[in-house]
């Protein structure tokens, strides 16, 4: 099991993973589940030479309930998750709540908005964001003098 986690510092910036505080052991202050709760999906953000790859876990969503928007440099993912019945108020075990997933990532002008492509399969949303041309590595032609 890869237990790589990143910490949640509440400021919106990326903090490096902390080996001393695995996310599993962090207290969650959320009380009980209420209808209409929204959740932040877990994400991976990977950079290659040509693109950013954002992968989000949105289990329970269907492809027609997914909305990916890019506006003013801000990418926002929304995935609707239909309410489902858990057979009564008493759970023998409850480790997650069911609700829509929402998360945003600011890319600024680092991406080419026209080339953004998203795909969804088996509860995973994958967004490809091509880098803006100015950020891609380029070959410089050296002419003989």
């Amino acid at each position: 099991m890869n237990s790589a986690h990143t910490q949640h510092d509440g400021t919106g910036s990326i903090t490096p993973p902390s080996p001393t505080a695995p996310a599993d052991q962090q207290a969650c202050t959320a009380p009980t589940v209420a209808a209409g709760r929204r959740y932040q999906p877990r994400v991976d953000l990977i950079e290659s030479d040509d693109e950013w790859l954002l992968v989000a876990d949105v289990p329970g969503a269907t492809s027609d309930g997914i909305d990916v928007r890019f506006e003013d440099g801000l990418l926002t993912l929304q995935a609707r998750v239909a309410a489902r019945s858990f057979g009564g108020p008493k759970f023998a075990r409850r480790e997650y709540g069911v609700g829509d997933f929402v998360r945003s990532v600011r890319f600024g002008d680092a991406v080419d908005p026209d080339g953004i492509v998203a795909e969804y399969d088996r509860g995973e949303l994958v967004v490809h964001l091509p880098k803006a041309a100015s950020l891609k590595p380029r070959t410089i032609q050296v002419r003989a003098g």
Partner: protein, 147 residues
């Protein structure tokens, strides 16, 4: 000649992009139990029961039916499998929150179940199990005969 122009410190802001975790009053999914006292492994599980069945649901995004094994032995249910990792050559990882690799969770069942009649469905990354109570575990009405 190749001249990389996107090296760190070479005009490209390395703190991009940033994740807006605090917005919209959303709740993080960091793996802690919603009740605070049930920290979870992978996958996270919800379970409940009714008169005839136990219901167990697990979030297994990205896992195919071929990567999943479910077994019942005695009063223990085991859910195990592998979640494939997405590999990109030469890529730099900025954020890794999703859990990948092999996983295994064992749950103690509160009643005997009929292992032959367990139904499992996997849809959109959610595994749903229906475990019928074993005959012996069912409540039954005892007829009281008048003398």
């Amino acid at each position: 000649m190749l001249l990389p122009t996107n090296r760190p410190g070479f005009g490209f802001p390395r703190n991009l992009p940033s994740l807006f975790d605090q917005m919209l009053e959303t709740l993080p999914r960091w793996g802690a139990g919603l009740d605070g006292d049930q920290p979870t492994g992978f996958p996270a599980i919800n379970a409940w029961g009714d008169e005839d069945n136990l219901h167990i649901e697990a979030e297994v995004p990205g896992v195919g039916i071929e990567d999943l094994q479910i077994s019942v032995l005695g009063d223990e249910l085991t859910i195990e499998g592998t979640r494939p990792e997405r590999e990109l050559q030469g890529a730099r990882e900025h954020r890794r929150e999703r859990r990948v690799g092999s996983f295994r969770r064992v749950l103690s069942l509160p009643v005997d179940v009929d292992a032959d009649r367990i139904e499992a469905t996997l849809e959109n990354g959610v595994l749903s199990l229906l475990l019928p109570h074993a005959e012996a575990a069912r409540p039954r009405a005892i007829e009281v005969r008048a003398n």
